[in-house]
């Protein structure tokens, strides 16, 4: 089954969601993220949703779940790039995603993650074959 790819960027995970996800794919992503954090000891998760044109309550809950589960595993999550139309619709829907940190783009998201861990350097890209 297709999965959303999770890239490793040093201590952080980068997830770019570009497809219109069906529910099973979203659930798979939740599972995969928690496993990766566990495997690689990641301390931060960056979820880039700048390509998502729709975020409904299911996806919203997925994001909130990922943030909550990651926190339990010791990692901070930042959701970046939410489109204006999506933000306005989510608010109208009644979702404000408390407990989910947000940033305008991947760059600011990284700054946020680095700041929470007192790092001064931004992580570099590794491919997942590196142990």
């Amino acid at each position: 089954m297709e999965r959303i790819p999770i890239l490793r960027m040093g201590p952080f995970l980068l997830i770019t969601i570009q497809v219109d996800m069906h529910d099973k794919l979203a659930m798979q992503l939740q599972d995969d993220v928690t496993e990766r954090i566990s495997d690689w000891g990641s301390s931060g998760v960056l979820i880039d949703i700048s390509s998502l044109e729709i975020v409904d309550s299911f996806i919203g809950r997925m994001l909130a779940n990922i943030a909550a589960m990651s926190r339990v595993l010791g990692a901070e999550t930042v959701v970046v790039g939410m489109q204006p139309a999506v933000a306005i619709t989510l608010v109208e829907l009644g979702m404000s995603l408390p407990g989910v940190r947000t940033a305008l783009n991947v760059e600011s998201g990284m700054e946020l993650l680095n700041a929470s861990f007192g790092r001064s350097q931004i992580g570099t890209m590794h491919d997942s074959s590196e142990a």
């Binding site: 790039g81 939410m82 933000a87 306005i88 995603l97 947000t102 305008l104 783009n105 600011s108």
Partner: protein, 296 residues
């Protein structure tokens, strides 16, 4: 009731010619519509009416047999509204078809007074309904125009201003209702993305009253901005507004508010790791001295 339809079809050209002739200069409005266009309108309309009147739904103009006639009338009505005709002029245009039509009916049925009256009655009812249709269309077109103008006015009245790199300001003047909030929100958020701004200062000095509804609208905007990764600061909170907010029990705990726009700006600068410094004395422009002008 296809008698009417028959009569019209048989005498179409003649009715049309008489219609235009009888119209009189005042309805023709040669200043607004060309002769060619007028002939075209009368021809297609009469033909559509003949078709509808000949069908088995000759007296129900909402039925499918009258679709062509209705659409045509709506088009004619809309284009005349845009050309500057009054709704009465357009309705009269349709009603003036009565005279030539009745003349022809009288001629065809002169031997049968009963039938003549019945057909005339059908014709007059039909044309009255069609004329009313044009006034409805007219109103709809005008309302569409008004709402479009309202929209444009809304967009013009809430400019988003860039105060500094990454800091936007949105001075709101006037009342904030849900239609306006929508437009304001969209513009602000789109500008946030376009300018990569982490801070948006919403100045409400020019907002006369803040009630629960206005507060809700502001909170929606702030929440949406937050979801995108930008922080909103509300400035221009006047003492009366502060009191109203507290009395109404509006919860602004998570929102940063400042009395003055300048305070909000200073805060945003500080939060983005910047400050304003005083230059060495004499370095300020216009203070005399030997500073040379640099061409940057």
């Amino acid at each position: 009731m296809s008698k009417l339809g028959e009569i019209i079809s048989r005498n179409e050209e003649r009715i049309r010619a008489d219609w235009i002739n009888d119209m009189g200069k005042s309805i023709q409005r040669a200043d607004l519509i060309s002769k060619v266009e007028l002939e075209e309108q009368t021809r297609s309309l009469l033909s559509a009416i003949a078709k509808g009147a000949s069908s088995d739904q000759s007296d129900d103009i909402t039925g499918p047999q009258w679709n062509a006639a209705r659409e045509l009338l709506q088009d004619i009505s809309s284009s005349r509204a845009r050309q500057g005709f009054t709704p009465s002029e357009t309705a009269t245009f349709v009603l003036s078809l009565k005279q030539p039509l009745f003349m022809v009916i009288r001629q065809e049925l002169s031997k049968n007074q009963e039938e003549m009256f019945a057909v005339v009655w059908t014709a007059t009812q039909l044309l009255d309904k069609l004329a009313l249709l044009t006034t409805e269309s007219y109103t709809a077109t005008r309302e569409e125009l008004i709402s479009r103008q309202q929209q444009e006015l809304l967009e013009l009245s809430t400019p988003v201003v860039k105060l500094w790199d990454g800091i936007l300001a949105l001075p709101i003047i006037g009342t904030l209702d849900s239609a306006r909030t929508q437009v304001v929100m969209e513009e602000l958020l789109q500008t946030v993305v376009a300018t990569n701004s982490k801070f948006a200062i919403i100045d409400i000095t020019g907002v006369p009253t803040v009630d629960t509804l206005v507060a809700q609208h502001l909170l929606k905007t702030i929440t949406a901005a937050r979801l995108m990764g930008a922080e909103c600061i509300i400035s221009g909170v006047r003492p009366q507004i502060a009191q109203t907010i507290v009395h109404l029990g509006i919860n602004l705990e998570d929102v940063i508010t400042k009395a003055k726009l300048s305070d909000a700006f200073a805060l945003a600068l500080h939060r983005s790791g910047r400050g304003v410094v005083r230059l060495a004395p004499g370095a300020a422009q216009g203070s005399g001295g030997s500073s040379t002008r640099r061409d940057d």
